[in-house]
Amino acid sequence: MTGFGETLGQALWLILSGDADLWAIILLSLRVSLTALAIATLIGLPLGAALAVGRFPGRRTVITIVSAMMGLPPVVVGLAVYLMLSASGPFGIFDLLYTPAAMIIAQVVLVTPIVAALSRQVIADLHTDLAEQLDSFGLRPLARIPTLLWEGRTSLMTVVLAGFGRAIAEVGAVIIVGGNINHVTRVMTTAIALETSKGNLTLALALGTVLITMAIAINALVGVLGARARSGVPAHA
C-alpha cells in the first residue's frame, strides 16, 4: 500500500503538471459555484437590505425563515431541486436534471439565504448609524438601499465570500441533481467522494488540496476585508 507522503507527492505533481482531467473538474467547479454565487448575490443582497430597512407586516417572520434557511441540509435541498427538475416535476420540461444548470440552481438555493441573512445584519447595523441622516436627505427607507449597499461594500464582500465558501465546498445537493457525470457534472467535491470510494487517492488528494487551498485563501481574504471594514478603510484604498 502506498504511503500518505508518496500519495501527497503524486497529488501535488498532478496539480503542477496541469493534468487535463483534474483541471477540467476544477474549472467546472468554479464555473458552477461562481455562477450560483453571482445569482445568489443579485437576489440575496437586495433582499437582505430590504429586510434591514423595510417595515412591513410579517417582516420578523421572513427574517426568521431566511435565517433558518442558512442551515438547510444540502441533501434535502438536492432532493427538493431533483423533484422540481425531474421529468414528472413542474420544471421537468426544461430537461435540466444532470446538467451544470441543475447544480447551479441547487447552490443558489443554498447560498441565497446565507447572503441575505448575513447582509441583513450588516445593513441593519449600518442603517442604525445613518438612518436619521439619510432621512434628512429625503431618502425614504427603500430608497436608502443603494447608499447602504455601497457604504457596507467592504463588509458585504466578506458576506459574498462566505457564500462562495459554502457553494464551492458543497457536495450533497450537487451529487443528487448533477449525478457526478464525468466531463459533464463532475466537480471537485463529488469527484473526491467518488475517487476515494474507488481507492484513487491521488486524484482525490489533489482535488482536496486545491479545495483546502481555496478555503484558506477565501478565509484569509475574509479576514483582511473584515479588518479593513472595522478600521473604516475602503476596499480600494
Binding site: 448609524d129 445613518l130 436619521e132 441622516q133 432621512d135 434628512s136 436627505f137 429625503g138 431618502l139 447608499t147 457604504e151 473604516g232 478603510v233 475602503p234 484604498a237
Partner: protein, 259 residues
Amino acid sequence: MRDTGQSFTGGDARALAPRARGRTLPLVARHLGYSIDGKVLLNIPDLAIHPGGPTVIMGPNGAGKSLLLRLFHGLIQPTQGEVRAGGQPLGPATRRRQAMVFQRPVLLRRSVAANVRFGLRRAGLPRAARRDRLDALLAEGDLSGKAGQLATTLSGGEQQRLAVMRALATAPDILFLDEPTSSLDPAATQAIEDLLRRASAQGTKIVLVTHDPGQVRRLAEDVVFLHRGQMAEQSPVDRFLSDARSAAARDFLSGDLLV
C-alpha cells in the same frame, strides 16, 4: 416633484446661498406637542421662525431642544399640532428645502469630495454643474486640499465642517444644526461659526441648538429658550442677554443650575 425653477450658484462667491431664499419660511409651530406613553416631552402652543439672521434654540439638557429641531425637520412626527413651512404643511417638497447637521458628524465612508457630491446629487444638480459647485463648496469649507481623503479619517473639526458643507450642498432655505460644536475645540468651533455666518449672510436661515451662552452672543439674531418642554421665551438676542423675560432664562444665563 423636485423644484428646478431656480438655478444654483456655483463656483462663485455665493456658494452657500439657498436656491430660492425664504420660500419655506416662516417656519411655524402650531399647538405642537410630542408625548410618549402619556408623558409630554414638548408642548409649544405657538412659535414662528422668520427669515433673517440665525435663530438659536437654547435651554438646559432635557428641555426639548433637539426634539423641537427634529419636529421642525420632519424627522419625527408630532403627536399633536403641526409644523407649517412657508404656509405649507411640512412634507417631502418642503423638507427637501431643509438640511440638518447632527451633534456627531454622520459621514459616508467615502472621500471628502464624494460626501459633498452626495449632497449635490440629492439637490438634483445636473452633473455638469456639480464640479464647479463642488470646488466652490470645498474651498468655502477649507477642505480643497483634502478632497480625496477618506472622510472618516479627518479630525473632529474637519468632519463637522464637512457635514456642514454637505448639508449646504443641497442649497437649503433652512439649515438646522443640533449642537454642532459641543465636542469641538475653540479653533474648530470658530471655523464652524464663520461658515454659518457666511451662509447666513448669503440667505440661508440658520436654526441652531446650543446651551453655550457665548455661542448665542456670537451668532444669534434671536433666541428661543426652552425649559422642561415648554417655550419660556423668544426674544431678540440683545434683549435676551441683557433683560431676559423668563425667570428660567435669567437663572440659566446667570449660571444657576436649572433642573
